[in-house]
Structure formats: structure tokens, C-alpha cells
Subunit: 262 residues, 2 copies
């Protein structure tokens, strides 16, 4: 099977022009097929603030009312996605930006939760791997913004980590997929305050233990749950680490590599 890299870029990289540029340069140098999935929460929060639109987060997830949906659609699918595409084009990488609505790429439904109304938040139902594969075969690099739709005309705000995991999983039937979660830290850390304490290899047993010991907590838990789900459902390799070290992440010289068992 041919190799495919599904790379998520998030955290505080997207709003830092220098770091983002370094990441995109390294990304465009990856040989072979690749997909980039981006977040951009901080820039969305900034725009909401400029528009005097109060934002509410529950467990790191944004409550997406109609006006907030408009903001995230503008920021993710418009500003961030198109600037990344233009920068990748400048690096000689033939990028095409998409949301889940485009070509019905990611079908989702409005999240139903027993006691929290997340508003227009989408949970993924299906990835159009046929279309993705078809674009990849044309040597296009797909850049995915975390906006989905319900095929009834409604856009939905969707977690970018989950989007990356679902895309990686769906394409693992056609490719040997490496999923990279890149962000502002060096990897999964033993001490969240110390970027030098990277856990080089993390398996499911150790993960369970570190969660119990509260060494791993907060936002890292949904990220790692997503990552282990991917690994358990066909994805060959999952690596977590610093965006500006993308090259070393892929070569195995940086970051945390996840493993299914010890």
C-alpha cells in the first residue's frame, strides 16, 4: 500500500506567522500523498471578540450559536484555509482547501448531548474517501477546515482532531496512513510545564496509568483518545509533537509515538 500522511496542525501555531511558515515549508517537502487538517480556535475567538460576541467553552469545546458558526466558518474555511493554501502553492505544493460540505467530503449531524446544548456542533458520520482518494490521485494536497454539513443545508463546527482521526481512519483502507498531531508542544509530556519531558513511546496501558495518576489531563485526553481510536481502527502510526519539528516528527526523531500495547 502507498503511504499517506494525515497531518493535523493546531494549537498556538496557526496565529504565529513565523512558526506557521516553518511548518508549511516542512509540510510541503513531505514526499508523496498528504492531507492537512487545521484548527484555528484562537483566531476565531479573536474575531468574535472584535465583533463583541461572547464565546463559551465547555471542556475545550466551543458552544456554537448561529453567530459563532458564522465566525468559525469565516475564520476556518475562509481566512486560515485560504491563506494556508496560498502559502503552500507558493512552496510548490498543489493544495486545495475544502470543508466537509465541499463535494460532501464530511457528512455530520448536529451533536446531541443529554445536558449541554453545543449548538451547531457537528459529529462526523461519514468521510467521502472516494473523493479524497480521487483528489490525492491527481497529486493534489487537500487542506481541510473543521467545518462539516448535514446535507440538509446546515454547516456544523467540528473538532479538528476528530476530523483528522476520521479522515485517517477512512483512508487507511486505501493507504498506509501515518497520522501526525502537531501543535505547540514537543509531544506528550510527563510534566506539562516542562517541554523537555517528552514521553517518546506511549502505549495504551501506560496511557491508562498516566491518566489515573493525572499526569495526562485536560485537553490532552480527548486528543489522545482520538489518536488511540485511529490506531485501533486501521491507522498504521500516530505521532504527536511540535509543529515546527514536523520533519523530525516524521523521521521519528522527535515527539511521542503511540503504540497499541507494551
Amino acid at each position: 500500500m502507498q503511504e499517506l500522511y494525515v497531518i493535523k496542525i493546531g494549537g498556538n501555531i496557526i496565529d504565529n506567522a513565523g512558526k506557521l511558515n516553518s511548518f508549511l515549508q516542512q509540510f510541503s517537502k513531505i514526499k508523496g500523498k498528504k492531507i492537512l487538517v487545521h484548527g484555528g480556535g484562537k483566531l476565531a475567538t479573536d474575531l468574535a471578540e472584535k465583533m463583541s460576541l461572547p464565546q463559551q467553552m465547555v471542556d475545550g469545546r466551543r458552544i456554537t450559536d448561529a453567530e459563532t458558526l458564522k465566525v468559525v466558518t469565516m475564520v476556518y474555511a475562509g481566512y486560515i484555509n485560504k491563506n494556508m493554501v496560498a502559502q503552500l502553492q507558493a512552496e510548490g505544493c498543489d493544495a486545495i482547501g475544502m470543508t466537509g460540505a465541499d463535494g460532501n467530503l464530511v457528512l455530520a449531524h448536529k451533536r446531541i448531548h443529554s445536558n449541554i446544548d453545543y449548538g451547531f456542533a457537528g459529529d462526523v458520520d461519514e468521510i467521502n474517501s472516494e473523493l479524497l482518494n480521487f483528489l490525492l490521485e491527481q497529486n493534489l494536497t487537500v487542506v481541510v477546515a473543521p467545518i462539516t454539513h448535514d446535507k440538509k443545508g446546515q454547516l456544523l463546527n467540528t473538532n479538528a482532531d476528530t476530523m483528522a482521526q476520521e479522515i485517517a481512519k477512512a483512508l487507511s483502507k486505501l493507504y498506509q496512513v501515518t497520522l501526525v498531531y502537531s501543535f505547540e508542544k514537543n509531544g506528550v509530556l510527563m510534566n506539562a510545564e516542562d517541554d523537555s519531558t517528552v514521553i517518546a513511546k506511549l502505549d495504551t496501558n501506560k496511557y491508562k496509568q498516566l491518566k489515573e495518576e493525572k499526569v495526562i489531563f485536560a485537553g490532552m485526553i480527548p486528543k489522545l483518545d482520538n489518536a488511540f481510536t485511529a490506531l485501533g481502527t486501521g491507522v498504521s502510526k500516530v505521532i504527536i509533537g511540535k509543529a515546527e519539528k514536523l520533519e523530525q516528527l516524521i523521521s521519528g526523531d522527535s515527539g511521542t509515538t503511540l503504540l497499541m500495547k507494551a
Copy 2:
């Protein structure tokens, strides 16, 4: 040659949910291959106002400084493009939204003008008709936002009428192209104040005469110049008329049809 419709939607339709929906329903019913090009200036002006960003227009063209470029990228490529795509998907039309940066669809350069600095305004150099044709062959309907790039990483704000004309022209080598400019009026009018005074057929001679008599003026002149350029360079048919009457525009029962000579 196979038929292709290139349809521009603009004016005060895009910010009117009811009219836009009626247009999109009719658009999705057009049989065969089609491309939609949209503007959205009014919504961009609204967002700029919310962000306290003063806007400056010269001859109907927006002066695009860095912050304004951000606004139009968010509004055109994000909000408008993705909502249209989601609505078309709901109508069973397999739409994919793109800017000129995506897949290097529309290459442009920053406008150079002897005495006006338009800022990040782009003039079109080249259409990637190979990619467009390739997507059309997959029965995808391409929805184009009027944002281009210079392949050096810079996004550029581009006139949507011109985008439609350039796309129509480029694809006329592969298809028999009908170009429709749809907006809030019934067509080219003898009396700009009276929507019942549509000129059913307008040829180049009559156009020249009506311009001299100042019957045709202001924003209609660049629109018609674009339209006649298209007609003179391979496009089979150009029709101008009301967006909510798209079906009748295409059947020839409404709007103004342009002709090369009397």
C-alpha cells in the same frame, strides 16, 4: 461540444436568504455541467462596519488594504461560499467551493494602476481549465469565490464579473459555454429606474449608442464590457437578468441576450 453554464450571482441577492434560496434551487435544477461564480460585496461591507474598518470604493471597485483582504477572504471564501455549497448539497447538487488559490485555479497579479493604489486587488492572468474540466467530469459543480492568488503566497481580491468572464472564456475551448450574469434587475434597462424596460437583445452597435446617450451608465458599463469581451472570445451566449428568474433566463424568456452585431 457539450454545454456548460457559467453563472454569476451578485448584486443584492446574496444577502437575501429567500431570493438566494430560490436562485440556488433553480440553479441546482439546471441539467448538465455548471459553474457558479459569486460576489458578496454587501456582506463584506457589513462585516467591515462591524469591525470598524472604513471601506473605500473607486468606480465600484474596493480598495483592498491588508485588513480588508482579510474581511473579503472570510466573507467570500468562508461564509458565502460554504453556505452556498451546503445549500446546493441539500438540493442534491454536488457542489465544491473554491477560490483561485485552490488547485491554482485562478492565477492573478496585484493590479498596477498609474494613479490609484487598489491594494490587494488581483487581475486575472490564467485559468486552470484542466482542473476545472477535470472536476466537471466528476459531475462536481464548482462554486467560485472571487479570491485569487499570485502563487507567491499572496491572496488577492478579484472582481467576480471578471472571474466569471475569464472562466467562461477559458472553458469555451472545451465546452459550448453560456454565460449568465444574474443580479437584482430584470436585465439591461432602457430606464434604470424601471425594471419593466428590459432590452431583450443588445448588440455591440446598440451598446455603443446607448453608452453615448448615457442610457447605460455606472456599474453596468464594466459588467457589459466583461460580457461583450466573453462573447468576442469564444463564449457562445451571454444573458443578463434577474437571479430569481434563472430558469427563464436560460430558456430565453427573460433578461437581455447579448449579440455581437445587429
